[in-house]
């Protein structure tokens, strides 16, 4: 096996095992710990490991979903950090927890990391909650909801001649179709673009089908550094490039129809250094897929969101990590050689992470 060399760091790190819950609109019978436990148990089983094999643990979540402080603290009970473990948490999507774990595994002697992300969007009103991400002095007091902000972005794209409403519907149609083969998806059906165009507007120009579902869900990944990855799986998904960037927060300070942070992260991750077989893009709104695709320079030969993507299942704080899982699974099963995983955070794609995953040749 010839392990593909990483562009960043000095030590190759691979995804060797994944697990995710089925995304559902409302999981009432399980709290966060109960949602996570089967996922963590499954990812260990898939890796043939126990918690004793793990050198580092990192998770991503946000307190604002449960409406209380320290939601990650009780969630740790799903892992059972006893004896004590080296462990950390990011108030970001689980994809950034994966980034921190990837950095940690660059150190010799730290070989295995567990990463997880979880979120129950059903616990509150996400439109209200996400408004609290905005500038607390000038924007949040007006409570702009995320759908209205996304609509501003979609309209900017239409105004600049980058997309049409029919393009948005075509993406939604394909996402729902792809989701039919994804057992964890929440929205899966056969609807033509023409049928979807009959939907009402949620906020013009966004019709209902261009919005992501509200999802509860959790996801976990095990990373292994170096050749030990081949002990776990025949074809590890090597992270050959990874980078993340943030854009300005104020909407007036950026062109909403583009994503400079995505472009820069994709360049640093080396997206264009070879053909991309599949890309899992964390584009919660249909129009954002077009925007991200342009920002990364992905051409027509790349299959976008074969899982159905966030339009089919979108648990907050795990949605980005699930993109890594869907991309890695296709490397590990041999159906793709080179894949892109993308995660986003913040209002209208403010912050973006891009990674390239490759199988050994």
């Amino acid at each position: 096996m010839s392990t593909p060399p990483p562009r960043q760091g000095t030590r190759p790190v691979a995804i060797v095992a994944c697990a995710q819950s089925k995304s559902e609109r409302r999981i009432e019978q399980a709290n966060e710990v109960e949602l996570l436990m089967p996922v963590v148990t499954e990812v260990y089983a898939n890796a043939g490991m126990t918690k004793d094999d793990v050198d580092f643990i990192c998770s991503g979540s946000t307190d604002y979903l449960i409406g209380g402080p320290f939601s990650f603290v009780t969630a740790l009970d799903a892992v059972g950090v006893w004896p004590p473990k080296a462990e950390s948490h990011v108030e970001m999507d689980g994809a950034w927890a994966l980034y921190e774990a990837w950095v940690t595994l660059q150190e010799e002697g730290k070989d295995v990391a567990l990463v997880y992300g979880f979120g129950k969007s059903s616990l509150g009103d996400l439109s209200r909650i996400l408004a609290l991400q905005l500038d607390p002095y000038t924007m949040a007091p007006m409570w702009p909801d995320q759908v209205s902000l996304a609509a501003l972005q979609a309209q900017a794209m239409i105004d600049q001649g980058l997309a049409t409403e029919e393009d948005f519907a075509r993406i939604a149609s394909r996402a729902r179709h792809n989701a039919l083969s994804n057992p964890n998806a929440q929205v899966a059906n056969e609807k033509t673009m023409e049928e979807l165009m009959k939907d009402d507007y949620a906020v013009a120009p966004l019709r209902r089908h261009t919005l992501p579902p509200l999802s509860d869900g959790a996801a976990a990944i095990i990373l292994v550094a170096g050749d030990r990855a081949y002990d776990v799986v025949d074809r590890p998904a090597w992270i050959t490039g990874i980078d993340h960037r943030v854009d300005a927060h104020a909407f007036g300070a950026r062109n909403l129809a583009e994503s400079r942070s995505t472009t820069k992260a994709a360049e640093n991750a080396g997206v264009s250094a070879g053909p991309v077989d599949i890309a899992e893009l964390h584009a919660p709104f249909a129009h954002q897929e077009i925007l991200l695709r342009r920002a990364m320079g992905l051409n027509e030969s790349t299959v976008i969101n074969p899982s159905g993507g966030p339009l089919a299942a979108n648990p907050l704080m795990a949605g980005g990590l699930i993109r890594f899982i869907e991309a890695a699974n296709r490397i590990m099963d041999g159906s793709a050689n080179r894949a892109v995983a993308h995660a986003t955070s913040g209002p209208v794609l403010q912050q973006n992470l891009v990674a390239v995953l490759e199988g050994a040749s």
């Binding site: 709290n31 643990i57 402080p69 320290f70 950390s88 948490h89 990011v90 991400q133 980078d243 912050q351």
Partner: protein, 391 residues
């Protein structure tokens, strides 16, 4: 660590109960600009920004780093947000240091803050959660019974906590950035302050502060170059570690948590330290309630079990003649911008080994410990810094 990493610049705000003169962006920028000036660098020199703070509910802003991207010069760069409860300031420094030590970036700005006056931490800590024991009385209500158990177990005299409260406030008088400056502080004043959570008097508890802390961390080549440019020495990281354990389980030792002991063992092994009291010159340790000084003296291996209070009682941890001064800055008992409190411990340890701590400098300090803890005393982050490069 794959390569050496140094602290080349530090900055902090003047901590106060209400910093009404600045927004949150203004607060963090004050610390960040000071750290960059100390390092002899500009925002444009920075490769990545790592932000830490305690629960978002403390200010009522979800992921406030997104809004702070501009103020921290992070636009177009990687920006990262750490949250590990009270230990977050320390964990954030470690996450930032890993980016340098593991060869990803050369110059990283790390910032931690809390603007407690924008909200009410007591309220934010007391939101009832299903199937969880309610705290109701904030952090002090949680820790007071553990402290009472420690007093019973160790046989410590009742006034040891009060001695810590006095000592740290005397130290704070030498630190212009400290929130509390109480020139008349003495045992009588502490004893006569109101009993908040038995056995903790009001003056044995940390204040609520607005404040921020920032550090510039760099690779060895950058550190050596900046030492020449600025004429100010770097502090070299000799070891860093994090450990976590669950909040509750049968048989858990709350007074002397295993995670703290493991974390100390790890960080001291990295730094080649076998006798911390003898080999370290000082320590900045997260002591938000007075009695946590004797408890952490034991947990960190500065004293045998049940003997920690004797160090405090004898004055060993005082800047005034003690052999192992703890919290020369005044510590968390004198300034508590929660998210930044851990980073201030790490920052102050770096200041000491750079010989730049001013009136609260320990003479000829070469090696110092920075420590933070959080949650139900279950999350620990620590580093050892030195004036010399590590082996």
């Amino acid at each position: 660590m794959n390569q050496r990493c140094a602290v080349i610049g530090v900055g902090q705000t003047h901590h106060k109960s209400k910093r009404e003169d600045v927004s949150i962006a203004g607060l963090v920028r004050e610390a960040a600009v000071a750290a960059l000036e100390d390092a002899g660098l500009d925002f444009s020199d920075i490769d990545a920004v790592v932000v830490g703070k305690a629960p978002d509910m403390f200010e009522g802003i979800m992921m406030p780093e997104l809004y702070l991207a501009g103020a921290l010069g992070a636009v177009g760069k990687p920006m990262f947000r750490v949250h590990t409860a009270g230990s977050v300031g320390g964990s954030t420094a470690i996450v930032a240091a890993h980016l340098v030590a593991n060869g990803i970036h050369k110059r990283v700005l790390t910032v931690a803050f809390e603007k407690q006056s924008d909200s009410d931490a007591m309220w934010a800590l007391s939101v009832p959660q299903p199937f969880s024991a309610p705290l109701l009385a904030g952090a002090g209500g949680y820790f007071a019974p553990i402290i009472r158990s420690y007093i019973n177990k160790s046989g410590a005299p009742n006034n040891v906590g009060m001695k810590v409260a006095v000592k740290d406030r005397l130290h704070a008088l030498k630190n212009p950035y400290a929130h509390l400056h109480l020139p008349d502080i003495d045992l009588k004043m502490v004893e006569e302050s109101v009993m908040l959570w038995d056995p903790l008097h009001y003056l044995e508890s940390c204040p609520s502060s607005d404040g921020a802390a920032a550090m510039v961390l760099s690779s060895e080549d950058v550190a050596v170059a900046q030492e020449k440019t600025t004429g100010r020495p770097a502090a070299w990281i000799h070891g860093m570690a994090m450990r976590s354990e669950p909040t509750m389980f049968a048989g858990r030792n709350l007074m002397n948590p295993q995670a703290g002991r493991d974390c100390a063992k790890d960080v001291f092994a990295q730094a080649g330290i076998t006798k911390p009291r003898q080999e370290l010159d000082c320590a900045e340790v997260y002591v938000p309630f007075s009695w946590y000084e004797p408890m952490w003296l034991e947990n960190l291996g500065f004293a045998e079990e049940n003997e920690g209070w004797k160090l405090t009682d004898s004055g060993a941890t005082s800047l005034d003649g003690g052999d192992i001064p703890w919290n020369c800055s005044g510590g968390v008992l004198s300034s508590n911008p929660i998210g930044a409190s851990g980073m201030l411990r790490f920052l102050e340890s770096a200041l000491q080994v750079r010989n730049m701590a001013g009136d609260h400098q320990v003479p000829d300090a070469h090696k110092a410990l920075g420590h933070a803890y959080g949650g139900g005393s279950q999350f620990f982050s620590m580093w050892v810094v030195g004036s010399d490069k590590p082996e």
